[in-house]
């Protein structure tokens, strides 16, 4: 072990580790992610209603459940119909939620720019620009709606 520590390579190794950690930390700082939006994206792609509903504050959860059904069926099928592709069953439909600027509007609320990319069979077919209201309650973030 003493031999390893005395080697110049070890110093270079340490140098690389330090820079890797620094670059990793910097990546995380430069690409901040709001967990609730990430959870929303995952729940929509997995079709997980409960995870989807959990993203919303209590008073909006009932509404969110209805919204999920609409998102899951109407929007996707509508898109496929528009494209003339027929039923959604044979196609892989997914969304990606890109996160933009988040602006604090009060101590507990903020507005976040979100871009929703909708993919059909891996091809991005549409882009929606949304401002999502986010509420912080007991240290946890919730959505107050799907935004506008």
């Amino acid at each position: 072990m003493k031999g390893i520590v005395k080697q110049k390579k070890f110093i270079f190794f340490l140098f690389c580790v330090v820079f890797a950690v620094a670059a990793g930390v910097f990546c995380c700082i430069m690409n901040p992610r709001v967990k609730v939006v990430t959870q929303l994206e995952k729940s929509m792609n997995k079709g997980d209603v409960s995870a989807f509903v959990d993203c919303f504050s209590e008073e909006y959860q009932a509404e969110a459940e209805e919204m999920f059904a609409l998102l899951d069926i109407a929007e996707m099928v509508d898109q496929l119909d528009v494209l003339g592709l027929g039923s959604a069953n044979n196609f892989g439909v997914s969304v990606k939620m890109l996160q933009g600027e988040k602006i604090k509007t009060s101590e507990t609320t903020s507005l976040m720019d979100v871009v929703m990319l909708e993919y059909i069979n891996g091809v991005c077919e549409s882009v929606d620009y949304i401002q999502m209201p986010i509420l912080v309650e007991d240290g946890k973030e919730y959505l107050e709606s799907m935004g506008e």
């Binding site: 031999g3 390893i4 080697q7 190794f13 820079f19 890109l98 990319l117």
Partner: protein, 675 residues
């Protein structure tokens, strides 16, 4: 409702009796409207009731009738009675010191809005008397009919036979002019003015050339030519040139021309011609955004022809404008640039456009004309380059190529306007200089719901927004941040290029973009994927409406929008609006010919910091493996080196000459070879 029915019934019966009995053998109402030159006077309504009528139809005494009159006479009316042997003559009078007072009193008695026009012009243009009313004495005495029936002095069946309409006269100075029961007297002698024309042009010196023409008919000139000339000479503005000529139609044209630099001079000129109280000019702010590349001058004129036209007399009026040779175009405008419209060509006035024309009387409000002069510097090319640094700082360079080169003075004005629009800090600094005591802190209170988008703020500016929560009274202050602004320009032989650089955070860019281009513009950036992933998703949105800002564009106008996405960018989605897009060398280029840039882009990019992370992780792993390998190899060598070696006995003979070796000596005793 009952009263109205009764009045109508009485009025109908009144007229019927009047017609059936010739002039009504009961009582008559004669009217004398006495007026003097100061428009004061009185209206005397004389009611003569014959003794026989009184005896036949009235229940009660004369005192009873007088009591009823005393109790019921409306405010503003006075009465008296003259009792002769065979008749009782009542006088009901309304005294007034002005037409306004007379009108108010009459309105109070009638209970509805009456119209009274009264004028006694004594000028070169008109002289005589003009009186017009839309009511009769019967209307003013309806209360008496009601009262005597109400008090039982006359039965309903007889009431209609008591009063009849007599003569109506207007008495002015010594004249007694008979008229109908609803007074209309027009005894005015007019001098006809065929046309009044206004010509306006903005000249090269920035002043307005204003010409006013009065076209007077030949007949008028024949009858009152000298008086008209004397009048025109009297009203000639001090800052005007004046001439008289006869046109092809034989009419005389009096022309007044002035070069007027501002509203004050305009007022002096026009008020002299039309009277101080008959002219005003205002320079209101235009109600909507204007481009820095458009020079706008707006004023609104209100005028009345009361000094020239009396009563129903009218004249044709033409308000004409001319586009200047130095580029100023004239428009009619109603307070906003969007409401402007060019005049129409009138063949009677070659070279001029008519903004307003028609017949006008001298009564009431005269013509109101909003006139907007605008000079355009059309934009022939728009180049917009947007980029976002690795650290999230945005920058957008807008380069506008102006097809014509403005004068140096105009350039300064344009750049100052852009600076004022884009850089509130500069404006604030100017305000600070002008009023040091004034605080730069501006607090704007605004109620907003929780969903309301917050604005950003520059800490230096210390401008604050108060956003009051719907449910809580506490106020939160959010600072507005604006982008850094860099404005530059350069001239070529044929064009002038203005470059506007904005840089700052996304919020700051949004705020400054709104200042510069107005509301409704959008910009947004969003990214997604694992923070440590080398390839990440990103999306840009930019909606930039340069329409209001540019003001106008040339026929060959086009735009180029460049979005710097960086190397490794891969497009997944692009909606370039009305343009055409290409992605090459990490740059999205959209070209088109609209003033509205609308780009929605989504794709992937390579995160340099993630690459650095993985490179160092890779290097660290390699080094670690190398170090482990090195240690393993070294250990293996050391093991070999430490293995036991058998001792070899030195040779007993010299290896060179073969002579026997002496073990104690280091050299061969025969040949000297070193052992």
């Amino acid at each position: 409702m009952k009263n109205w029915m009764k009045r109508i019934w009485i009025a109908v019966a009144f007229v019927a009796v009047f017609l059936l009995t010739g002039c009504g053998n009961g009582s008559t109402v004669n009217t004398y409207l006495n007026i003097d030159e100061s428009l004061s006077g009185y209206r005397d309504m004389e009611l003569v009731i014959s003794e026989s009528t009184f005896d036949d139809y009235f229940n009660g005494s004369l005192d009873d009738l007088n009591n009823v009159i005393t109790n019921y006479i409306p405010e503003g009316m006075v009465w008296s009675v003259d009792t002769a042997i065979s008749a009782y003559t009542y006088h009901f009078a309304i005294y007034f010191s002005s037409v306004e007072e007379y009108t108010n009193t009459v309105n109070n008695i009638l209970g509805w809005e009456s119209t009274i026009n009264m004028t006694f012009p004594d000028s070169v243009w008109a002289s005589g008397i003009y009186v017009e009313e839309d009511f009769t004495s019967e209307d003013l005495l309806y209360w008496l009919s009601d009262a005597i029936v109400e008090e039982g002095l006359v039965s309903d069946s007889y009431a209609s036979q008591i009063f009849s309409i007599g003569d109506t006269n207007v008495v002015y100075t010594d004249m007694v002019i008979p008229t109908s029961s609803s007074i209309y007297v027009n005894e005015i002698e007019y001098v006809e003015i065929s046309e009044i024309n206004f010509y306006t042009e903005r000249n090269e010196l920035g002043a307005y050339d204003r010409t006013v023409e009065f076209v007077v008919s030949a007949d008028s000139m024949t009858s009152k030519g000298d008086a008209i000339r004397e009048y025109m000479d009297g009203v000639k503005p001090s800052n005007a040139e004046y001439e008289e000529e006869t046109n092809d139609a034989g009419n005389t044209v009096f022309t007044f021309h002035g070069t007027l630099t501002d509203a004050a001079e305009m007022t002096t000129f026009m008020a002299s011609l039309f009277g101080q109280e008959n002219y005003s000019v205002a320079e209101p702010e235009l109600g909507d955004a204007s481009s820095p590349f458009v020079f706008s001058e707006y004023f609104v004129e209100n005028m009345s022809f009361a000094n020239y036209l009396v009563g129903n007399m009218y004249t044709d009026m033409n308000y004409l404008v001319k586009n200047s040779e130095n580029g100023y175009q004239a428009f009619a405008c109603n307070g906003t640039i969007s409401s402007k419209y060019p005049g129409y060509e009138d063949t009677n006035f070659p070279g001029y456009s008519s903004l307003l024309s028609g017949s006008w009387t001298g009564e009431g409000a005269g013509p109101e004309v909003g006139i907007l002069f605008q000079k355009y510097y059309p934009v022939s090319a728009l180049e917009v380059s947007t980029s976002r640094s690795l650290f999230g700082k945005w920058s957008r360079e807008t380069k506008l190529t102006i097809a014509a080169v403005p004068t140096d003075e105009e350039k300064e004005i344009i750049l100052a306007k852009i600076s004022a629009m884009a850089d509130p800090l500069a404006e604030e600094a100017v305000a600070e200089e002008s009023d040091a005591a004034e605080s730069v802190t501006e607090r704007m209170s605004a109620e907003a719901s929780e969903e309301a988008p917050a604005t950003t703020m520059d800490p230096n500016l210390q401008e604050e927004l108060s956003i009051a929560d719907d449910t809580e009274e506490e106020e939160t202050f959010i600072e507005i941040e604006y982008a850094d602004v860099d404005i530059d320009s350069e001239s070529t032989d044929e064009s002038w290029i203005v470059t506007i650089g904005l840089s700052g955070s996304e919020s700051a860019m949004r705020a400054s973009t709104e200042l510069l281009l107005g509301a409704g513009n959008e910009m947004m950036y969003a990214a997604g994927g694992n923070p440590l992933a080398v390839v990440k998703n990103e999306s840009y949105l930019e909606l930039l409406d340069y329409g209001d800002f540019m003001g106008s564009v040339s026929n060959d106008y086009s735009y180029i929008y460049t979005l710097d996405l960086g190397l490794g960018a891969k497009q997944e989605y692009c909606d370039e609006g009305n343009g055409t897009a290409t992605l090459e060398g990490g740059k999205l280029v959209v070209e088109g010919n609209s003033y509205y840039i609308d780009v929605e882009y989504a794709g992937t990019y390579i995160d340099v910091f993630a690459v650095i992370f993985w490179v160092f992780v890779g290097l660290a792993v390699l080094l670690l493996l190398w170090m482990i390998l090195t240690v393993v190899i070294k250990k293996s060598k050391e093991k070999k080196a430490n293995a036991p070696v058998k001792a070899v006995a030195p040779s007993a003979f010299c290896t060179n000459c073969g002579a026997p070796r002496n073990t104690d000596s280091a050299f061969c005793t025969q040949c000297g070879t070193k052992f």
